[in-house]
């Protein structure tokens, strides 16, 4: 599904160059549920932005769903992003004056789907997250957990190849966070590929695989759920980097 090889990303200002990703190589298979963890500044968000075609990268190659995305122009990236990727953001990112139906409709509008198909997909996605009965409500009328479920419905409605979740429970209390995670696990169980960025070890343990980033590289990969002790202790840091 996702194959990154020796990806580099450097942010430049007049005074400083920041190497956000240093020869990052990783892959995610079809139907996998992968958690990406790491301390602040480790490159998690940059990785997610590049994986989601929101940002470009300097060197290396990135193949998503069988297509090398390095050479795509802005319009092609937009279209590919729309068709292949569903985003779930930490702060939900719902449009406040659109009701739930219209929020879920946003990515479908840019795919030029027939109205009937859009209607069916929106209803199905909202039913999946248990909010079909509230489709005319505004986001402000929902709890945080419900808003995140709407964001998940929006991501699902496009029937993407991969879901990218950026700290999906970061703005929720623990009860709601578990509800959202339960939902993500259900979606994964139905066959979806999910890449979730989180700094919460408990949530990361619920993924099938854990990829730990540090200083823009993969520091640790663990296929046994919950095997990685996160975050790494300073004493472990040198060893982990050496392994990468």
């Amino acid at each position: 599904m996702l194959e990154m090889s020796r990806i580099q990303k450097i942010y430049r200002t007049e005074l400083i160059e920041t190497h956000a990703l240093r020869d990052l190589s990783l892959s995610v298979g079809d139907g996998e549920f992968v958690a990406v963890t790491g301390p602040s500044g480790s490159g998690k968000t940059t990785f997610l932005n590049i994986a989601g075609l929101l940002e470009s990268f300097e060197n290396g190659s990135y193949v998503l769903d069988g297509r090398n995305v390095a050479g795509l122009n802005d319009d092609q990236r937009s279209e590919f992003r729309n068709r292949k990727i569903g985003f779930i953001f930490q702060s939900f990112n719902l449009i406040p004056d659109l009701n739930l139906y219209d929020n879920v409709d946003v990515p479908l509008r840019y795919r030029r789907l027939p109205a009937a198909e859009r209607r069916a997909r929106i209803r199905r996605a909202l039913e999946t997250v248990g909010l079909a009965s509230r489709m005319k409500h505004l986001p402000a009328q929902l709890s945080g957990g419900q808003q995140q479920r709407v964001a998940i419905a929006r991501a699902l409605a496009g029937e993407p190849a991969m879901l990218l979740a950026d700290e999906p429970t970061g703005n929720l209390d623990s009860a709601m966070a578990h509800q959202v995670m339960d939902l993500l696990e259900e979606i994964h169980a139905a066959g979806a590929t999910i890449v979730m960025v989180t700094h919460d070890p408990d949530l990361a343990r619920r993924a099938e695989r854990n990829i730990h980033l540090m200083d823009g590289r993969v520091a640790l990969e663990d296929y046994s759920t919950g095997a990685a002790d996160l975050p790494p202790q300073p004493a472990d840091r040198e060893r982990l980097v050496a392994r990468a």
Binding site: G52, L54, E55, S78, F87, D97
Partner: protein
């Protein structure tokens, strides 16, 4: 997608009602000022009789002072009007398909009832050809017979308004009214007719109302009618009687002729030349031969019915519109900055730059449309003001569908132009820029 963008535009406008109102106000004021001046210019410069403007001609012959031209600024020009006796002779000869001499005068109407006071009305003293030449519509009756043109018969054609005043709007054909001690028979009442500009008499004001009644030219001698319009003289003449005045070299009669073909026109100018040659033998027309005919469009340009001031005013009002649009650009930039996070989100969810650009342009077009509608109302107010300021007849300066459409089109197009830069700015927002901070 257009409908979707319109829906988003309306939501966005509701989201910032004050800013939206300011933008609509800026555009509407610009459009209002622009359309007011443009409408006045359009009315002034429009062809009031497009189907006949090429066959109706004002006649000028140069009977002026041999020592200096009629108009020092335009020495090639003959006087705008004819002497009474030249006009009468040209009418006698005919030669045109139709022709009329005319001037403005005024008469006192003496009402039949003793409780009503006499009142003065403006009259156009003319020939019966006036009515078919200028396509004057009749409500009741018709123009007078040709015999009235030669026999000085006391007949009159009333305007609808005067007929309303005198006879309560009823069919007054056959009724009589007394003027200057003479009983006139009403032969016709014309329907509403307000050619704008008043092309057959731009000399006495292209935007004046038509006269309230029409009487035969042949009554000039009978009633010793004086012109209340413009008259010019160059010769010192000892005038002690009305007949001497009619035979003087003063020019105060307008003359129009209908000539349907180019050959008719050539023949007519030849006829004028022959007439002037004959008059030269009698010691008149001492200036070089300078006879010409001017079609309606040429005649209005000749008299600068559309003043240069009007053109300058239109230019200035468009500059004002540009200033309003610059204000709108500033407001749009502020508004669109507030939409950065939504734009960033839409980009992340698959909207291309073009899609974002179109969304913003549709929004400014909707704002422009609203500004155009409000601007039209301001235009109507502006036109009312102009009518009041220039004491123009009510309803003379009006918006027609062409101007309404033009106003809306200018409002939408100009607001879209104003929105280009803000829309371009907003569509350049990277998709990842605001997602973490929203």
């Amino acid at each position: 997608m257009f409908n979707y963008n319109v829906k988003l535009a309306l939501k966005s406008m509701r989201r910032n009602p004050i800013m939206t109102a300011l933008m609509i106000a800026a555009i509407s004021v610009g459009i209002g000022v622009c359309m007011t001046t443009l409408t006045v210019y359009y009315l002034m410069s429009s062809n009031p009789i497009p189907h006949k403007s090429d066959v109706l001609f004002a006649v000028t012959i140069d009977s002026w002072n041999p020592l200096r031209p009629f108009d020092d600024d335009y020495p090639e020009r003959a006087p705008h009007q004819l002497t009474f006796h030249d006009a009468e002779r040209l009418i006698d000869v005919g030669k045109g398909i139709r022709q009329t001499a005319m001037f403005e005068s005024s008469l006192i109407i003496e009402p039949a009832g003793e409780d009503q006071l006499p009142f003065e009305v403006g009259a156009r003293v003319t020939y019966t050809d006036f009515f078919p030449m200028f396509d004057v519509p009749f409500l009741f009756g018709s123009a007078w017979d040709r015999s009235a043109d030669t026999n000085g018969e006391p007949v009159v054609v009333l305007t609808r308004e005067l007929n309303e005043r005198l006879f309560g709007g009823a069919d007054s054909v056959g009724e009589t009214l007394t003027m200057q001690g003479m009983r006139f028979q009403v032969v016709g009442v014309i329907d509403t007719w307000e050619p704008t500009p008043r092309y057959y008499d731009p000399i006495n004001g292209g935007f004046q109302r038509i006269n309230e009644m029409f009487i035969p030219f042949s009554l000039t001698r009978v009633l010793e009618l004086n012109s209340t319009g413009s008259d010019w003289g160059w010769k010192s003449e000892d005038i002690t009687s009305f007949e001497q005045w009619l035979n003087s070299e003063s020019v105060w009669v307008q003359y129009f002729v209908q000539l349907d073909s180019p050959r008719d026109r050539d023949d007519y100018v030849t006829h004028l030349d022959a007439y002037v040659t004959e008059q030269k033998k009698l010691g008149r027309f001492e200036r070089p031969m300078n006879n010409s005919i001017h079609n309606v469009t040429e005649w209005m340009e000749y008299h600068e019915v559309v003043a240069n001031d009007a053109r300058v005013l239109v230019g200035l009002s468009f500059l004002f519109l540009i200033v309003c649009l610059l204000s709108t650009i500033a407001l749009l930039l502020t508004k669109f900055v507030g939409k950065n996070s939504e734009t960033s989100l839409r980009r992340a969810l698959g909207a291309s730059r073009n899609a974002i650009f179109r969304q913003q342009i549709v929004e400014v077009a909707v704002i422009g449309f609203a500004g155009g509608l409000l601007g039209l109302m301001l235009t109507l107010l502006g036109l009312e003001g102009i009518e009041y300021l220039y004491e123009a007849p009510p309803g003379l300066v009006n918006l027609d569908w062409l101007m309404v459409t033009t106003a809306i089109a200018i409002a939408i197009a100009s607001s879209m132009v104003a929105g280009l830069y803000p829309a371009w700015r907003v569509c350049r927002i990277p998709p990842a820029a605001q997602l973490k901070t929203q």
